[in-house]
Amino acid sequence: MSATIINDVRRGFYLDSVALMRFSRVLATMDGIEEAAMMMASPSNRQIMADAGLLDQTSAGAEGGDLIIGIRATTPEAAEAARVQAEQLLDQPTSSTGDGARWRPKTMRAAVKAHPEANLALISVAGDFAAAEARKALRKGLHVMMFSDNVSIADELSLKREARDLGLLVMGPDCGTAILNGTPLAFANRVSAGDIGIIGASGTGTQEISCLISEGGGGISQAIGVGGRDLHEEIGAITTLMALDALDRDPATRHIVVISKPPAAAVAAQVVARIAASSKTFTVCFIGASGWQLPANATFAASLKGAAEHALGGNKLFAEFNADALAKPAKGRTVTGLFCGGTLCAEVQSLFLGAGEAVMSNAAISGVENLSTDPRRHKIIDLGSDEYTQGRPHPMIDPGVRDKALNGELDDADVGIVLLDVVIGFGAHEDPAGHLVDSLGGQTNGQTILIASVTGTDADPQNRKGQIAKLQAAGVLVAPSNADAAELALACLRLGG
């Protein structure tokens, strides 16, 4: 019997992608529902829904400001029940900020009028609209953190130039993490306060380093996110250079860590010259590079863990961790990494390359092959890249994107080890380890070795120790850092012969 598809359109009705994901999940678990999604009717979302077989002619006239409910069910009755449920979900009060029925501004202008002391705009609307909101914020005198991605590089350059002229920071776009004056913003962790400043073109890189520093007894003064493209030639490190100036002036910052993918040569020269002019000391971590010419006050670190150790004055972290002692022989020949954090994915690629392993990735660093069907190579996947996140929240918010991929890898006899990251903290899923264990059916299968690390702290809402305990109880081997997880995977490969 063919499936029943029902669409409903709410004109001029907006909910953010996280709220819609939660509602979509409720519908998807109802009896007789094959697939269900509620999405804003942007062209890219319409394509996703069409590809999922969720659209009929009812939604053909929906526009970007409209919401589409798409349901595919085994029977007309099941579809109708889900439609009714969807309408009820959309009609319930949505405010969870504790504002209740209080008036809430609908525009940036009205918000600034109501909150004239505001000094930062945190923008996480869909990328198509993010530059416009950032521009409005700058013109109201606000610094901007743009969590949104899918913003054009031309818009990024124009916003950053305008901000620089105004003396304002634009952190982002695609800036996942910042800690300003002790406050974690978006995806960030509750770390100890201290005298180490971080300038990060990488969100999860900043999270891992700040947590490792905190774990190692140090603390963070500020963590300024700059966006993944700030050190590209087109942008010229505008925000990085402004952040360097600010941290150089900051009396609370003694040492500065700069983290990025390897920058363009001309941009690197500017950044290195600015570092050389500083009286402070630096750790420079360009993930994927094997070394870098740096002035005397700066040291290159090839890994996130190495960067944290250097920032801590050379103290070795987790000296008690012994990968060889914990390792088990791998039954399959290859490792698959399924990462929520892009820089954690890059760090593992870098460490595997350094160990002489053949690697492929959908987010390949220099020296790594692009993803293919080559069965001899280890497959290290960034689940936060566009092909996995279009139309849905980042896997750190919605770890469900990893479930299907994980089950596929567990069924593959060639895959001896699956390597995972569990990233906690503000902004992240409320229990990613619990979700992972549930998706395993409570326990590992006894064939594939699962290795994970938890990026976070015990002060985070999810509690790092609690997350580690859940993973270990399910048979997952847990390493104290992402780099140690990679070492453990390599040790298991060696034992497996």
Binding site: V18, E63, S96, H115, F129
Partner: protein, 59 residues
């Protein structure tokens, strides 16, 4: 001499206008950060090009 605005940001309490994911505003409130959440919907009827143009015109 004008005070440095970035240094001000790093030394004064954060006061945030949140536009987008409401969960970010909720978490900031839980940390006792002053935050105003914008009850946002796509401007210009959901047409990004017109929304961009309007922002450049200051509306």
């Amino acid at each position: 001499m004008e005070k440095n605005k970035v240094s001000d940001l790093l030394t004064q309490p954060l006061q945030v206008i949140n536009v987008g994911l409401e969960s970010f505003a909720v978490e900031l409130k839980q940390q006792n950060v002053a935050v105003t959440h914008v009850d946002w919907s796509p401007p210009a009827g959901g047409d990004p090009k017109i929304a961009d143009l309007l922002s450049k015109l200051g509306t």
